[in-house]
């Protein structure tokens, strides 16, 4: 599993890390039952705050992505893998949509902005944060 973060972006690091770990699981770079590196190891490898990594692990545990066994580390739960197929399907849909947008000569930035703004306006319409 190779993680790459961008500390200078406006997206909080813990959100970036959660997304990347989930992505690593979805693409099977790390599989169900496999162990994640320790908080300390991950913080040292990525040169980021260990509290940030700890927060990510807490959040992934709370949402059922990983299971933290006391003193034995964090493991990917088998239940999340069922989403792998779903995500592959979603990837196909997004791929086809992006192909169409590109054929309309939209740039990568424009595509990204449209998607992000659509998600943002859905969020604000549904009234939650």
């Amino acid at each position: 599993m190779i993680l790459r973060l961008n500390p200078s972006s406006g997206i909080p690091l813990y959100l970036q890390l959660i997304e990347q770990i989930k992505h690593a699981i979805e693409t099977e770079a790390i599989r169900a039952g496999e162990q994640l590196p320790s908080v300390r190891r991950m913080a040292e490898d990525l040169v980021i705050n260990p509290n940030t990594v700890a927060k990510v692990f807490r959040e992934l545990e709370r949402t059922g992505v990983i299971e933290v066994r006391h003193g034995a580390g964090a493991y990917v739960r088998s239940s999340v893998v069922s989403r792998t197929k779903l995500m592959r399907k979603a990837q196909d849909i997004v791929g086809a949509a992006v192909d169409r947008l590109e054929s309309m000569e939209l740039t990568e930035d424009e595509v990204r902005r449209i998607v992000e703004n659509d998600l943002a306006s859905r969020r604000s319409k549904s009234g939650k944060k």
Binding site: A43, E44, T52, A120
Partner: protein, 297 residues
């Protein structure tokens, strides 16, 4: 343990007619890596010197480990738990690296031989070289080793990466993260390098003209601050300028750019209710927050 490892309330300090600190508030949680940001002359070094009781405040209170900085009786006990690295590195230039380590060690009963060995190796410090002959980067690393190996619970670092080349900066950041991860050491460091603060800090304070202008958990700040860009049909600038949470408004032609520090959803809803307004929302980096809050004050 107190709620805050370092706390400052309404600290004031002037040098002659120059106001250095103008009612500074500071709350550093235990176990955090705390980035203390500001332009040159904003009051960073003055704050650190006050915390270490090198100079005295005109008014206000500060405590470290719950002990008031003016408590002479317990001052030595507190100082022993603090590792300090200053900007002007006060090392004896005629001593070798090995000599200065042997000279420093007896002052600190909690000295960690394992950490001394570890950082000698990690920083590739030459034991037999005179301190005066070390490069700036090596000098900083030696100071850091001396601060860490005393078994400190708190590191106070005044611009620890100032003047270092990018590889040395990366070494130092990596070791700071490692020391925080393995020992739970609280690290308070001043810097004007936004990128390094953004990389390793979980809490930040931006100080400007002796006042804390932005403070908080970095993740929360990034979640709260947003840039909203609006394309409008008509003059709108004055309508939104005074809405609660709008930090700054810039207008170019029909495009309006808002920096928002809170209430993002409410502000968006208000703008969307205007006729013909289309909005876009962007995340904001620490650099944006810094420049917008410090530049034009």
């Amino acid at each position: 343990m107190d709620e805050w490892l370092i706390e400052a309330r309404d600290l004031r300090k002037s040098f002659g007619s120059q106001t250095a600190l103008d009612g500074l508030q500071l709350q550093v949680p235990p176990g955090s890596i705390y980035g203390f940001l500001g332009k040159n002359g904003a009051g960073k070094t003055t704050t650190i010197e006050l915390l270490l009781n090198i100079i005295k405040p005109d008014s206000g209170h500060a405590s470290i480990f719950g002990v008031p900085i003016t408590d002479v009786r317990r001052c030595a006990e507190v100082r022993r738990r603090i590792g300090f690295v200053s900007e002007d590195k006060g090392l004896y230039p005629y001593m070798t690296v090995g000599q200065i380590i042997r000279f420093t060690r007896p002052f600190f009963p909690a000295w960690r031989d394992d950490l001394e060995r570890r950082y000698l190796e990690a920083f590739s410090l030459p034991l037999n070289k005179k301190v005066g002959d070390l490069s700036k980067g090596m000098g900083s690393k030696l100071m850091l080793l001396l601060a860490i190996a005393r078994g400190a619970d708190l590191l106070i670092l005044d611009e620890p990466t100032d003047g270092l080349d990018p590889a040395a900066v990366d070494d130092v950041l990596r070791e700071l993260v490692s020391i925080a991860a393995s020992n739970g050491t609280t690290i308070f460091f001043s810097s004007h390098q936004l990128a390094e603060v953004e990389q390793i800090a979980d809490h930040v304070c931006i100080i400007d003209r002796g006042k804390a202008v932005v403070t908080g958990a970095l993740d929360e700040l990034k979640a709260q601050y947003q840039r909203i860009q609006v394309v409008v049909d008509r003059e709108l600038s004055s309508a939104v300028r005074w809405v609660d949470g709008v930090v700054r408004v810039r207008q170019e032609g029909r495009t309006l750019s808002l920096l928002v520090s809170r209430n993002v959803e409410a502000i968006l809803a208000q703008i969307r209710s205007l006729p013909g307004a289309s909005t876009e929302q962007f995340p904001v980096s620490l650099k944006d927050i810094f420049l917008e809050t410090v530049r034009n004050n």
